[in-house]
Amino acid sequence: MKTSVIVFPGSNCDRDMAVALRNATGHEPTMVWHKDSALPDDLDLVAVPGGFSFGDYLRCGAIAARSPIMRAVVDHARRGGLTLGVCNGWQVLIEAGLLPGALMRNADLKFVCQDVHLRVEEVQNPFSRGYQAGQIIRVPVAHHDGNFYGDEDLLDRLEAENRVAFRYVDANGDATARSNPNGSARNIAGVLSENRRVLGMMPHPERLADSALGGVDGSVLFEALAA
């Protein structure tokens, strides 16, 4: 599998993403600088990593979405290429028009870094097909702006089309207000595109993909992609 990680000047999870992809695929991902205008040929997956792409002083991801490389990323996604956006990467994919909704400041206005439980809502897609439907996994979040928002029509449509990939839940699998770290509508933690080839998620699967770090629930996602 051929993968690339996009590097913006303020990306800071680019190396973490590359390590997770390398461990899963056995191949070194290409790191693509945001000022480039083309992706490598025959690419299978583009990952847009976490971080603070341009400092996020304005709307998170808004400037990054206008970087030269993003035209190529949008083309890749529109052609059905696999595209994964984690944390800031999800913000960038939303700003680039590849995923719907918005990510607002966390409801309590604070940065939040902690492990959360997620319920895998949807397994008919290349990203989460390695999990069992309804499985509870543990993955960290670390963000200031992860409060997913959509109007009721959008949220209903995402549910109806089974495009909610993950939901914040408690250890028992219940989607409670307390288990929602950022105030996201309907506890939504990750969303798929219509063609199910683009996934945006706030939690960081690449941070718990190594037993030395205390968990491997995240590695299932990368292994499913590589398989």
Binding site: P9, R15, F52, F54, G55, D56, C113, L213
Partner: protein
């Protein structure tokens, strides 16, 4: 910019103006004697920047020289931007801690943020990629009207900078005491990883080489900041807000990447970050260490504002800037790297052979000073000091009530309750190498791409330092040593961040001298040298000094990061107490929180026993005999046991006190040099026997299991203890 514009506002230089710059009559006379003429306004600014306490260490130097700073593991000790320690396999860890106290009190978010930015720059200036950050924070009483505002701002500022920059903030300390009401402490630690043979230093070399300005543009922010950091506070403090700088972590992140690329290209002769007193200190430092002069042409300095004067440019503390001496043949390559990262790259001067600091603006000389004299002849004081008088004995104490009720009070108290409210706001996992997150004895970060781990802790017990500076200084180092051993790491070296009141007062100077003596003794006895540090004096407001707070940042090494010891117990384990218990109650958390007293002597530290016990813990850990381990510190045995139970989600039982000791002394005494370890039942005999062989005092004191924490016959549900432990911080901040 027209040259004329910069001249019109320059005031006349005289003793009165020098006083406003923090230079006393004697120091001003020294300048007049040195130059044989009146300095220009810009020159006066340069002297004030170089000779203030913050940059010159004029009150502390005499004592800092007494600290042990060498060892086979030390690659570079104090004097550079950060200390450098060998971790084997051709790699080194580069680290330092530095205070940003005054700015954080005035503007907590930006003050703390730029404190983090400054310490990160100190580390990557030396060619190291930052891999861990910590913060030691001291705030006023929780009921003081300003405390909440400061906590909120400081924590957000630390998170705002570190999270965006992309370094995991893995540990630290938060304490509350009324002595910090008017003067909070923000001590920021950073550590970075580098190849041991690719460390970059600040000494310039070669004549006629370009001096290059890198990074963000220069503005008027922070002019006079270092001078502010060298004076006491009073009610006019709010007027000093404009001297606080504004941080930009996005620029710092780009500066990091650009600098590391630049260093890899071979273009860098020497490099220095622009921290306190910005361009002045960095240029003088590079020239002084390299035995060279420096000429600066200020019109080339990238400025954010128009009509900046030479004085302002030389004293600006705008953030995210570096000064470098360049190999001229690499200029094109170097410039391209900075253009790639959209950062300024400007040649602003050159190295010159004579001992001269020649500062010009549009061809006009603004300062022309003997360079070496700026740092070499800086004043140095042997300030009068008085030793702290010995503490009176405690006398008879009233008997303790319920032991578990006491435990619940302590573990829910501001100084011992959960800090999750704080560290949840710090990204402590970015870089995906954090093996032990905040909440244990020390954080453990894997050395990327290897099995090895580095352990980080910061420690000090200011109430001990106040009662008995020598023992308090020892204790701070010993506790750092113990916390590293408690995760199974071999202690390597420390950085010290010495926060004290006004050194011109003999009893304050006595606290400083005593603490430094204690630190020095502990470093020597534990082979745990000081490799970097920072002194912050004048931490007083309206004459009220802080508690003496010499924060120690300790670093240790693990061969197998994944084998690090944790505090979490499991079912069916035995609890063994290592080290001697005498039931010391002076200056304990028990005394303060339960009896409302802050008196008595600090516990004494037996350094030989500290070392032996630490080595024993590491040895039996390596043999796989330890299931969980926790050092004993604030709150003593019962608090340590409760924390182990909370971390494991399993109850613990501690036996009654020995017959010759009162319950409160046994459960809550704060004798030093102790660890509580949990071992599997079938390993207990082996551990006790090994301890006997090693002449370590070891005793079985309890066991794990169930859902209660019991102290003798007195039990409390673990769930209740957890609620108490986790409630205070968020409730106090109004978040739950």
């Amino acid at each position: 910019m027209a040259a004329a514009d910069t001249q019109i506002t320059e005031p006349e230089v005289n003793q009165a103006l020098a006083s406003e710059h923090g230079l006393n009559a004697e120091e001003y006379q020294r300048i007049l004697d040195l130059l044989g003429r009146t300095p220009t306004f810009t020159e006066l600014g340069i002297f004030s920047a170089m000779w203030n306490e913050h940059c010159s260490y004029k009150s502390s130097k005499k004592w800092l020289r007494t600290l042990p700073t060498t060892g086979p593991q030390v690659i570079c000790g104090p004097g550079e931007n950060a200390g450098v320690v060998d971790i084997g396999d051709g790699q080194a860890i580069v680290f330092k801690m530095e205070s940003h106290n005054h700015p954080s009190y005035i503007e907590p978010y930006q003050g703390a943020a730029t404190g983090v930015g400054g310490i990160l720059r100190d580390v990557f200036t030396m060619g190291a990629r930052p891999i861990a950050a910590m913060n030691a924070l001291s705030f006023g009483a929780p009921d003081h009207p300003k405390t909440r505002h400061l906590v909120r701002g400081v924590v957000e500022g630390i998170g705002g900078y570190g999270n965006a920059f992309g370094v995991p903030t893995v540990g630290g300390e938060v304490r509350f005491h009324p002595a910090y009401n008017g003067n909070c402490l923000v001590n920021a630690f950073a550590a970075g990883l580098a190849d041991a043979d690719k460390i970059f230093y600040s000494a310039a070399s070669g004549v006629g080489r370009p001096v290059v300005y890198l990074g963000a543009k220069t503005g008027r922010d922070g002019v006079g900041g270092a001078t502010m950091a060298s004076a006491e506070f009073d009610e006019t403090i709010e007027e000093k807000r404009p001297t606080v700088q504004v941080g930009d972590p996005f620029t710092e992140k780009r500066l990091l990447e650009a600098c590391l690329e630049l260093m890899a290209s071979g273009a860098v002769v020497s490099i220095q970050d622009m921290g306190a007193a910005g361009l002045t200190c960095s240029a003088v430092e590079m020239g002084d260490k390299g035995e060279l002069g420096v000429r600066l042409d200020l019109e080339a300095v990238p400025c954010r504002e128009t009509h900046m004067s030479a004085y302002e440019m030389m004293l600006s503390e705008s953030q995210e800037r570096m000064l470098m001496v360049l190999r001229p043949e690499k200029e094109t390559e170097a410039r391209a790297i900075f253009e790639k990262w959209d950062l300024d790259f400007a040649i602003v001067g050159e190295t010159i052979p004579e001992d001269r600091f020649d500062v010009r603006l549009n061809g006009q000389t603004k300062a022309d000073l003997p360079l070496k004299a700026l740092s070499g002849t800086a004043p140095e004081y042997d300030r009068p000091w008085e030793p702290t008088p010995p503490a009176a004995p405690l006398g008879e104490l009233p008997p303790m009530g319920s032991a578990t009720a006491t435990l619940a009070t302590l573990i829910g108290a501001p100084d011992l309750c959960s800090r999750a409210w704080v560290w949840r706001q710090y990204d402590h996992m970015v870089m995906a190498d954090t093996v032990q997150r905040p909440g244990g004895d020390a954080a453990v970060v894997r050395v990327h791409g290897t099995e090895k781990g580095l352990a980080f802790t910061c420690d000090v017990t200011p109430r001990y330092c106040k009662a008995n500076p020598v023992e308090g200084g020892k204790q701070a180092v010993a506790e750092a040593f113990r916390n590293l051993c408690a995760v199974g790491a071999t202690p390597l070296a420390i950085t010290d961040n010495l926060n004290f009141g006004n050194p011109e007062k003999p009893h304050i100077m006595g606290q400083f001298v005593g603490c430094v003596q204690g630190i020095g003794e502990a470093c020597a006895a534990l082979d745990f040298p000081v490799v970097s540090g920072n002194v912050s004096l004048y931490n007083e407001t309206d004459g009220q000094a802080i508690l003496p707070t010499p924060t120690i940042g300790g670093v240790g090494l693990l061969e197998q990061a994944s084998q690090s010891l944790r505090i979490a117990v499991a079912e069916h384990q035995r609890l063994i107490l290592l080290g001697q218990s005498a039931g010391h109650l002076g200056q304990t958390i028990y005394l303060r929180e339960i009896l409302g007293r802050e008196d008595g002597d600090a516990p004494s530290v037996d350094l030989a026993s500290e070392r032996k016990t630490g080595e024993f813990v590491r040895e039996i850990a390596a043999n796989g005999l330890i299931a969980a381990c926790h050092d004993l510190s604030d709150g003593g045995l019962a608090v340590a046991a409760a924390e182990m139970a909370l971390a494991g989600g399993v109850g613990v039982h501690l036996d009654h006190s020995p017959q010759d000791m009162r319950d409160e002394a046994w459960f809550f005494g704060e004798d030093q040099g102790r660890y509580l370890i949990a071992v599997e039942t079938d390993a207990a005999d082996a551990v006790l026997a090994a301890a006997g062989d090693a002449r370590i005092i070891a005793q079985m004191v309890g066991s794990t299991g169930g859902t209660d924490v019991s102290l003798g016959n007195d039990a409390i549900a673990l769930g209740e203890l957890r609620t108490t432990h986790e409630a205070w911080f968020a409730q106090w901040m109004g978040d739950s």
